[in-house]
């Protein structure tokens, strides 16, 4: 029988401590009144209120949210199309190339994806005058390519172990394949679509390197702003900003995760 040995328990405690202590220190220190990050004086929320007065920050948050929303939506569409093509359509011309291209961005270092995309945009600008400038749109296009790979992975896994009997029933009753997909399949894989959307959103919101290559004057995303300030060192304001990000994301992931968990237990 499988049992937890003391080795397992020690491993788990140390492992989770390693994963969580660094983040927790940032959160704790964000409430520290001292300018010196590491000496605790007293509790304060002043770093949070000073964030609200930072206009550049607010602008970059909105730019990032815009890019992430668009990225997630289009990546879910492209990722679903790709997953359906790969799982359902059997052999087609160029399937090998397709499956290679769709998963390659997963392990491609960001710096190479960013470099390649920028060189392409520069070339098309010379050739056909598009894009006229680099900014939110070029960042979004690059993010979609990256995020589609992740969405594809999630939806492909869901479609691969999909019970097709309901689909077959609908087909026997005379529904066209497209209708079967829209009315039966899509609602059944909806949870995967949602987690794909959220993952794509989080990836886009988090990307620094690709955005740095593809942004132009006036387009600063939140990670670009954070990066330029943490290059200068640790500061309490960044601690506060980081804590807000950690809080929002953890809340989202925990709510979504626990909802899935309860659904699984009910089954």
């Amino acid at each position: 029988m499988r049992r937890l040995s003391s080795f397992n328990i020690t491993g788990l405690i140390l492992g989770y401590a390693f994963l969580y202590i660094p983040i927790l220190t940032v959160v704790v220190l964000s409430f520290n009144d001292s300018m010196l990050v590491t000496t605790w004086t007293r509790f304060t929320t002043r770093w949070y209120t000073s964030l609200l007065e930072n206009e550049g920050l607010i602008d970059s948050v909105f730019a990032s949210l815009k890019i992430a929303t668009l990225t997630a939506t289009l990546a879910v569409i492209l990722g679903t199309f790709a997953a359906v093509a790969m799982v359902r359509f059997g052999a087609f011309k160029g399937r090998m190339l397709f499956s290679g291209m769709i998963s390659a961005p997963l392990i491609m270092p960001d710096i190479m994806t960013g470099l390649a995309m920028l060189m392409m945009f520069v070339a098309t600008e010379q050739l056909i005058g598009w894009p006229s400038h680099r900014g939110l749109m070029t960042i979004t296009i690059a993010h979609i390519t990256l995020a589609t790979a992740y969405v594809y992975l999630i939806i492909q896994a869901r479609l691969a172990d999909f019970d097709r009997s309901v689909e077959e029933a609908a087909q026997d009753l005379g529904a066209r394949p497209t209708k079967v997909f829209l009315v039966i399949t899509l609602p059944m894989i909806a949870p995967s679509l949602i987690s794909g959307w959220l993952l794509a959103f989080a990836l886009s919101l988090d990307d620094l390197v690709i955005a740095s290559f593809l942004s132009g004057p006036g387009a600063t995303t939140l990670p670009m702003l954070i990066f330029s300030s943490i290059r200068l060192g640790v500061s309490p304001e960044i601690n506060a900003l980081a804590s807000i990000i950690v809080f929002i994301i953890s809340l989202g992931v925990l709510v979504a995760g626990l909802a899935t968990w309860r659904r699984q237990r009910e089954k």
Partner: protein, 308 residues
């Protein structure tokens, strides 16, 4: 006759529309990837063969129509020669390889231990533990790297802890060296190692282990002879998911590494942004792609196909 043909006609028109839908569903992502993934990388290859100039864009065209109607082709392999002859690039490559290798190894040992321990947890609680593994991965990458700046710096938390325990007499700089870069990589990429290993370990049938015990295997022997070989596919994809991004990592060496720590990712960045030498940046990218990324991807695909 006509009456009999109608269902057949409807069947054919349905088949046609279904086929059209299928072509559409395949073509849209296919075209996207060709336009925004394949062509960009082909362009990187092309630019790696052109000459660097001070212009916008900062490289000379390879193909040029001269007025007499000839196609002039300027191929320049100088960038590749420079890459192999200038020790600057070779040492950057070595640094990246060593750091990525050590970090992947640490990730493997730590990640395997955690993944293995999670499979020992009662089924109904595993989900929570997995969720807690995934959670930091969703949290901002920059924030995770930043957290280590606050811990490892000279006035950081680790120094304070060691000072108060009396283990060191004066603060030490733990930041800006290869050690801090490795810690950062392990921290950021650990979930990518744990998850694939866990998903393979979870599926291993207990029967094999029981058979090994019945035949007199020690627990340690059973692990190395049964569990570990069966978990190899997960180990391989975990290694690929950590090693390749670590090799091209830019943010972690930039923030946690020494200023003279020039991993490949930083070299590409510096050549591109600071020196505006696009051709050499492209050359570094091509060499890295052909030497490491393509072979590992091919290896991984072969492994996946073997599993069916």
């Amino acid at each position: 006759m006509i009456h009999q043909n109608r269902p057949l006609k409807r069947y054919h028109s349905r088949r046609r529309s279904a086929l059209r839908d299928r072509q559409f569903v395949t073509a849209v992502p296919y075209l996207w990837l060709i336009l925004f993934f394949l062509i960009p990388f082909l362009l990187v290859f092309k630019i790696s063969l052109s000459e660097s100039v001070l212009a916008v864009p900062p490289y000379l065209p390879i193909f040029e129509w001269v007025p007499e109607g000839f196609l002039n082709i300027h191929l320049n392999i100088g960038n590749y020669l420079r890459l192999f002859l200038d020790p600057f690039y070779a040492s950057g490559l070595m640094t990246s390889l060593i750091i990525a290798f050590v970090a992947t190894l640490v990730c493997l040992v730590v990640g395997y231990t955690i993944a293995y321990s999670i499979t020992r947890i009662p089924q109904q609680w595993r989900f929570i533990f997995l969720l807690l593994i995934i959670l930091p991965f969703w949290t901002s990458f920059l924030v995770r790297v930043y957290a280590w700046m606050g811990i490892l710096s000279k006035d950081g938390l680790l120094n304070q802890l060691l000072l108060s325990l009396g283990l060191i007499q004066e603060p030490k700089q733990f930041l800006y060296n290869n050690f801090s870069v490795i810690v950062g990589i392990v921290y950021c990429y650990l979930p990518f190692m744990i998850l694939p290993i866990y998903s393979v370990l979870e599926k291993i049938d207990e029967v094999y282990l029981e058979a090994a015990y019945d035949l007199g295997c020690s627990p340690w022997g059973a692990f190395w002879r049964v569990t570990f070989p069966l978990s190899l596919p997960g180990v391989l994809s975990g290694v690929a998911l950590v090693f390749i991004p670590a090799l091209g990592e830019f943010v972690i060496p930039e923030l946690l590494g020494a200023p003279d720590n020039l991993m490949i990712g930083r070299i590409i960045w510096i050549e591109f942004f600071n020196n505006r030498d696009w051709p050499i940046a492209a050359t570094v990218a091509v060499v890295m792609l052909l030497m490491f990324i393509v072979p590992i991807m091919v290896l991984q695909r072969r492994q996946l196909r073997k599993q069916g």
